[in-house]
């Protein structure tokens, strides 16, 4: 039983990281107007920034920049800043594009950034990656119990992401984003600047994704360009659609459900020879879940709920005050 819990802890940690990305994606693509197919790039940039700031200097056979060995909290700020700044740079040219065209441009940028990770050896040690990375507070705990600590830390990160995204969505800025999503010309007539609003939203989302990248480094203890391929973007989109795009709770559970679905088949024991064929069923199961959800619950498990403003009541309140 304890073993089962340990396994659940491990996949929940990854689920929480996915949920952070889902929340971040939901902020820009669910609540806001930006269809982002490049979320993996900010995740990767955050992870690399964190690594380069906090890792020890490169060994003889490695080559990567920095390796400053800085404290982890600086790494955390760096990861978020890296994601945000990258979003700003990418946003400058691409945010002039609308919906589908923006989507294509972000996908292309994600691939370019992965190529940078893979080819700029002086910066990232190329495809060989950087390994043996430290996990936070590890020395204070028994190695066997550490997975609980990591889960707790990741859940704190998730709670933080939840809090930030929730506050933003409820704020006037969040409502401006939603207005742009619903009807841009109308939003403009209401005095919302689409360019400025979008770039701010894109940067916030990039920073949150970058922040999530730090937890991914902690989870894996190494970093290679192959971790940041377009598949991950599609996984996050799939998770968000399963959970319910536009709904905070949907984004939260989507990440977990995706990982649990994917790993649940590990529990079906089959004979050795069938194991090979069996594993291919795992991704197919996700595909099936996606199809079923799109067919029977097209808005996801938690559909987006319209926010109602009771205008007469508000007026009355204002008058009474």
């Amino acid at each position: 039983m304890e073993g089962l819990i340990l396994f659940a802890v491990s996949i929940s940690t990854l689920g929480a990281i996915y949920a952070m990305l889902c929340l971040s994606l939901n902020l820009e693509s669910g609540n806001g107007p930006l269809w982002d197919l490049g979320i993996v790039s900010f995740f990767g940039i955050g992870a690399y920034t964190y690594t380069l700031l906090t890792a020890d200097p490169a060994l003889e056979q490695q080559s990567f920049l920095l390796g400053l060995g800085l404290p982890m909290w600086i790494g955390a700020i760096g990861a978020a800043a890296g994601g945000g700044i990258a979003a700003w740079l990418i946003g400058l040219p691409t945010l002039r594009l609308k919906r589908e065209y923006f989507l294509i441009a972000t996908l292309a940028f994600a691939e370019i950034i992965r190529q940078v990770f893979a080819n700029e050896n002086w910066l990232t040690n190329g495809v060989a990656g950087i390994y043996g990375l430290r996990q936070p507070f590890k020395s204070y705990f028994d190695a066997a119990d550490y997975s609980y600590v990591l889960l707790a830390l990741t859940l704190c990160g998730l709670a933080f992401t939840w809090y930030v995204t929730r506050r933003i969505i409820a704020s006037p800025f969040g409502r401006a984003c939603k207005a742009l999503r619903e009807n841009e010309p109308l939003a403009i007539t209401a005095g919302i600047d689409p360019q400025k609003t979008s770039i701010r939203l894109f940067m916030i989302s990039g920073a949150l994704s970058g922040f999530a990248g730090m937890f991914y480094v902690w989870y894996n203890t190494l970093i290679i360009p192959g971790q940041f391929v377009a598949d991950l973007t599609f996984f996050i989109w799939a998770a968000l659609i399963i959970g319910g795009i536009g709904n905070q709770r949907g984004a939260l559970v989507g990440g977990f459900i995706f990982i649990f679905l994917h790993d649940s088949l590990r529990f079906l024991q089959v004979s050795g020879e069938m194991a090979v064929a069996f594993t291919s069923l795992r991704t197919a199961l996700i595909g099936l879940a996606l199809i079923l959800i799109l067919r029977f619950r097209p808005e996801g498990i938690f559909a987006e709920r319209p926010v109602r403003f009771d205008l007469p009541a508000l007026k009355r309140e204002a008058r009474d005050a």
Binding site: G129, G132, R266, S280, L281
Partner: protein, 419 residues
């Protein structure tokens, strides 16, 4: 999204059948008494390593069946649990956690380069030996050994680099090549070590060209290669890029000889480009010395079980050896924990002690109170202090006119300089 939805109808049907069987059939009655000893195989059944993983899985099945037929470990039956690592780093973490925490395996065999590097900390923290059987990464050159819980039964890329260089220089007297590398971890690492060794041993690389993965056309790279007017092109590339490159070179009328790395050494490559084009391509693979009993014994058993010979360069023998050596380490220790395996693995695989080539022989010798030295199907399997092995011989393979990979010669490589 296609990656998610892509599946194969026949496989799907087989799976439905399998699920039915798995649910319907109660666990097969076991011959031996006692709790089963669980051994984990963690390979990339899905993802990039997908084409190679079934071979490793077969080797594991063969080893475990053999151990069970010979009475199990310490009289207990052995169960093999195969788990997928998605050929990725986080897949390896989840797979390992599942194997160790849920199934309670005492050893994990099989993770490839990136996965095993990711599991270094995990292995030590949980006292579970992790043994790679196909990971060439140089990151493991001095990472393993007793106490670290990390081992590997295949040769490192840094040694294979020397092998390529020596074979080119000594066997076919080729002291000039153009090096074509695909930008992937495995291929780049292999090419780097080759380049170092080749240049040190007196060869010249007249030009080096990098291929970006996933391109459909390599015409400008081909023109680059052609400008160096090479006799021989060293191809350190994966299947897809390799097939495109070689086909397009043929269409342009370039008649170069190819020297390829393990990535292209498969019937698939020959079928994809055509026997006529592939003929003459050469690749050295690690091998047992000619006529080694341990190899022949394994090869026959494998053929009898699966109806095909083990393919050189597919790491079946390395995987089989890892399982047998672990089983013997457990026998020698008298217990089946990961700690016992870590403490005894290097001892039972020698050198020194009675040489044995099978699990049954090893158990008999241990029972008689002797020290043993397991001689593997893949080689002598003498781990150094960093948990690495050398390969006893190199088999030079060449594609024949009718498209078969044939052995040209077997060379004793035990005295090759380490790197």
């Amino acid at each position: 999204m296609t990656a998610i939805l892509k599946t194969n109808r026949r496989r799907c049907l087989a799976l439905i059948g399998a699920v039915g069987l798995a649910l319907a059939a109660p666990s097969v009655a076991l011959a031996q008494d006692g709790e089963p000893v669980k051994m984990g195989l963690l390979v990339g059944l899905s993802g990039d390593m997908g084409p190679w993983a079934p071979a490793l899985n077969n080797a594991a099945i063969l080893a475990v069946e053999e151990i069970n037929a010979d009475g199990g470990i310490l009289g207990r039956p052995v169960t093999l649990i195969a788990e997928d690592n998605n050929s990725t780093v986080d897949g390896a973490m989840r797979g390992a956690t599942k194997l160790v925490s849920v199934d309670g395996v005492s050893v994990i065999i099989g993770p490839e380069s990136d996965p095993i590097v990711a599991l270094r900390g995990y292995a030590k923290d949980n006292k579970i030996p992790v043994i790679s059987t196909s990971g060439g990464t140089e990151a493991l050159d001095d990472a393993g050994g007793t106490g670290t819980y990390i081992y590997r039964t295949n040769a490192s890329d840094s040694f294979l680099g020397v092998v390529h260089a020596k074979m080119l220089l000594d066997e076919i007297k080729q002291d000039e090549v153009v090096l074509v590398v695909e930008n992937l971890e495995g291929t780049k690492s292999g090419a780097e070590t080759f380049k170092r060794a080749y240049e040190r041993l007196g060869g010249t690389i007249t030009k080096e060209i990098t291929l970006a993965p996933g391109q459909t056309s390599y015409l400008s790279e081909l023109a680059d290669v052609a400008s160096a007017e090479p006799e021989m092109v060293f191809l350190a590339v994966g299947q897809t890029a390799g097939v495109n490159f070689v086909k397009q070179a043929y269409q342009r009328g370039y008649e170069w000889d190819y020297w390829v790395t393990a990535e292209l050494q498969s019937p698939d490559f020959v079928n994809a480009v055509g026997a006529e084009v592939a003929a003459g391509a050469m690749n050295p693979v690690s091998s047992q010395v000619e006529g080694a009993k341990s190899w022949e014994r394994f090869s026959d058993a494998y053929e009898a079980r699966f109806g095909e010979k083990p393919e050189p360069g597919f790491y079946q023998a390395e995987t089989y050896d890892a399982f047998i050596a672990v089983a013997l380490a457990m026998e020698a220790a008298g217990e089946t924990t990961g700690e016992a395996v870590d403490a005894n693995l290097i001892k039972v695989s020698g050198p020194g002690g009675k040489s044995v080539i099978s699990f049954a022989d090893g158990v008999a010798a241990l029972k008689a109170g002797e020290e043993i030295d397991y001689e593997g199907a893949s080689g002598k399997l003498d781990f150094d202090e960093h948990g690495n092995v050398t390969i006893p011989a190199t088999r030079l393979l060449k594609v024949s006119e009718d498209g078969e990979w044939e052995t040209v010669t077997i060379v004793d490589s035990s005295a090759f300089p380490a790197n």
